[in-house]
Amino acid sequence: MEKRALFSGKVLPYALLLPQLAITLIFFYWPASQAVWQSFLMEDAFGLSSEFVGFENYRFLFKQPEYYKAMVTTVVFSSSVAVLSLACALLLATQADKSLRGGHAYKTLLIWPYAVAPAIAGVLWMFMFHPSLGTLARPIRALGLDWNPMLNGKHAMILLVLSATWKQISYNFLFFLAGLQAIPKSVIEAAAIDGSGPVRRFWTIIFPLLSPTTFFLIVVTIVYVFFETFGIIDAITGGGPAGQTTTLVYKVYADGRLGGDLGGSAAQSVILMVIVIALTAIQFRYVERKVQY
Amino acid sequence: MAGVTLDTVRKIYAGNVEAVKGVSLGIEDGSFCVLVGPSGCGKSTLLRMIAGLETISGGTVKIGDRVVNEIEPSDRDIAMVFQNYALYPHMSVYDNMAYGLKNRGTPKDEIEKRVKEAARILAIEPFLTRKPRALSGGQRQRVAMGRAIVRKPQVFLFDEPLSNLDAKLRVQMRVEIKRLQRALGVTSIYVTHDQVEAMTLSDKLVVMSGGQIEQVGTPSEVYRRPETRFVATFIGSPPMNILPGKVEGPGRVSVGGQILTVTDMREGLSPGTAIEVGLRPEDVQAGGSSSSTLVMDVDFVEELGATQLFHGKVAGAEFIVQASTGQIAAGTRKLTLSVDPANVHLFDPQTTKRLGRV
């Protein structure tokens, strides 16, 4: 796709591109290549010198049980949030799609959590479920359950999933609603004339037509859980208790900052980059398909 | 004011696609020239090369005495009206018309004078402060014209300016464009695929096909004496009937065994040579008083109100006759048609060129 009418210029286009390219090169390509380079280096205990060690950092990484644990944590975390937030968002979107009075107000009241910072979302949920002072923790403890996300890894994970889901519902809701509203009314009317009831209509007509949106949202939500939930984790659990809520991204941060293992942290960064590139490539294929419609 | 001269102008796109294959054409100062042809015939490309919106791959374009090949569009002293109008959506009608003048540093009061004058001529004075989106299609069209007029250019270029309008408005705007051009006397080049527009507007009609000029002439010349079979069938509605025939002798051809006399026929064609015989639907008469006649089997009749179209076959080929309503009795299955020898057009089946007197 290109414009038919163009300007020609020898210097101007480069001048226009300069700010963006300069910043991109300095803050994207240089650090990214540094990450790759560092992942092949090992620093001595004082950080004074480093030597080239080939794939040693990677080998070491894959020998660590903690790394596998972080992988499992990441998978559990992201799949729980994806399933939960998509299901809730779809339910709300289908209801909001009905031509209800005050429909617009409902929409506004559901989308604003998008604007809340992940770390703040974490703080809100922490406060609500705080073992000693949380308004909702008390009834749980009254039921005889020893609810304590600060000591119990499962409880901590549940809290993370809930707060991450809470924040992501608004985004998924918005896209599902847009997807629903893009389905031609005549298709639904035809299905109604063909004698299928509302529930059947949803699963045989509407849901399949929404599948591109669903697929897109799954990818976006996974990317969101991978990276943006860093703030939630850091605010609620700090990766604990006992590393039970440390995800891959959190581990990059923790190993580099707290542990000072820059080589290992860099190797983890590189692996994450590969994952992101794979996810983006999948998403890009989806975009392409959408363009071809 | 200035005329426009094209000398073997070519346009070759990437991949060696030749969109315009060496067109030479002279357009006299003050005349209205229409380029007509089917889509993809190169007419728009040619216009855009004159405007400077496409680079010229070969040949020269002259506006007045100046070769403009390498000159920027804004310096060619032309104005253009686009098919989709290309009005600046965020500017008022006034600013749309004034923009080109402002960019040229025209004094403010002069701009105002010219815009007001153009608005008066085009009857869009009440809309000067509106945005284009608040205008109807016809009004937008007038603004686009106004933007061209205020510049007082040497040449107006029109790229299918009426094709976004509904049928009724199109007729009305057509008349206005013609009137305006007469009044201003500015050389105009107008591209269209609509042959009615082409016939009614032009002083000089240029029929194009496949990147080349098929014929240049006044509308009546092109209609009366089409140089190729393409022109014959493209200009005129319904299109000219083409029948397979044979040369019988000087001034005589036969169609399915029926002999026709012909006024305009190339000399020296040997008897028996295959030939194509063109007859316009409106040029044949029902009734068999003439010496040259054809017999037609009628399939069905289309009513157009004042006239009727009889569809059927002559010598096995599709044939259409246009006649005033009531002239031919309803239910007629077989028609005898008399043909005026002056109205028979002959074409070479191979070259598709006219086989008229040289």
Binding site: R4, A5, F7, S8, P13, L16, L17, P19, Q20, I23, T24, L25, F27, F28, Y29, W30, P31, A32, Q34, A35, L91, L92, A96, K98, A115, A117, A119, A121, V123, L124, F127, S132, L133, T135, R138, W166, I169, A192, F216, F227, D234, A235, Y253, G256, S269, L272, M273, V276, I277, V287, K290 | L53, S74, F82, N84, Y88, H90, Y99, G100, N103
Partner: protein
């Protein structure tokens, strides 16, 4: 539309209302907490109706700050967050509108290359390259500066892609008409492209403002002075000291203050927000 029955509509109202209550409840609690004193919250029996400490809490939070952990007034933090958010939003719009203009409206060698160099950055979120980026910013002496907070976050493909996509929808004839009207690249950019892009610019601004305001990891790394803290970092520091030491009423007041600007932006610029969100994902 196939009409839904009355009871099905009731069901829809019910589901939506429950959804809204669940979504709003955590925030309601935070607002509540910002109206009580510390003791009421810590004893674990916070009432579900507002208390009377609101004025005291908000005044103290904004102008004095927490007595423990970070002692910076939250007003300062909000100013820092605001400067960072504005810097990111405006910076991103500026550099991406220029680069998109170059990529769409000029033909020059390396046009495709330039586009791809920008496009690939879509795949590299700051989280995967934090330490090397940190090192560069440190080497440039930009730690604890607004420039350091803003610059690394303004270059990304989203803005360029968004503008490119919008520019592609502008009819070619508009540029051609401008050329005939004697406008060069600068005039076309200033007189036509920018006025037409206003809603796109506004939509991108809304999205990027929220993005900037909510940044966490990056400011956490490169700000060491309390006076450079953003509000999102500040609140984290307030509750990091365990339990009894946390001044919950101040922390939750800060949380409310941290939510107000971006939420207001979403609610009052909903149309632009939705447009920005949907179009940056295309």
């Amino acid at each position: 539309m196939v009409e839904s029955g009355r009871y099905r509509n009731l069901l829809a109202y019910f589901v939506l209302t429950v959804g809204i209550v669940i979504v709003a409840f955590p925030v309601y609690l935070a607002i509540l907490a910002s109206t009580f004193d510390s003791a009421t919250i810590i004893n674990g029996n916070m009432p579900l109706l507002p208390g009377n400490q609101a004025v005291e809490n908000y005044h103290r939070t904004i102008f004095i700050g927490s007595a423990r952990s970070t002692r910076e007034p939250v007003g300062t933090m909000m100013l820092n967050s605001f400067i960072m958010a504005m810097g990111i939003a405006i910076g991103k719009i500026l550099i991406s509108v220029l680069s998109a203009f170059a990529v769409v409206y000029f033909s020059f060698p390396f046009r495709k290359t330039a586009f791809w160099i920008i496009f690939i950055t879509l795949m590299l979120p700051v989280e995967v390259r934090i330490y090397p980026t940190y090192k560069i910013v440190a080497d440039l002496g930009l730690l604890d500066t607004y420039t350091g907070l803003v610059l690394p976050l303004i270059a990304s493909a989203t803005g360029t892609l968004l503008f490119r996509q919008f520019f592609m929808t502008i009819p070619d004839e508009l540029l051609e008409a401008s050329k005939i009207d004697g406008a060069g690249p600068f005039r076309f950019f200033k007189d036509t492209l920018i006025p037409l892009s206003i809603t796109t610019i506004a939509a991108l601004f809304v999205i990027q403002f929220i993005y900037g305001w909510n940044q966490y990891l990056w400011p956490l790394l490169i700000t060491t002075k309390d006076s450079m803290q953003t509000i999102v970092i500040g609140i984290k520091k307030m509750i990091t000291t365990q339990d009894a030491l946390t001044e919950w009423q101040i922390a939750m007041t800060t949380a409310v203050l941290a939510m107000v600007p971006p939420v207001l932006v979403v609610v009052f610029m909903q149309r632009l927000f939705v447009k920005g969100l949907v179009e940056t994902e295309k």
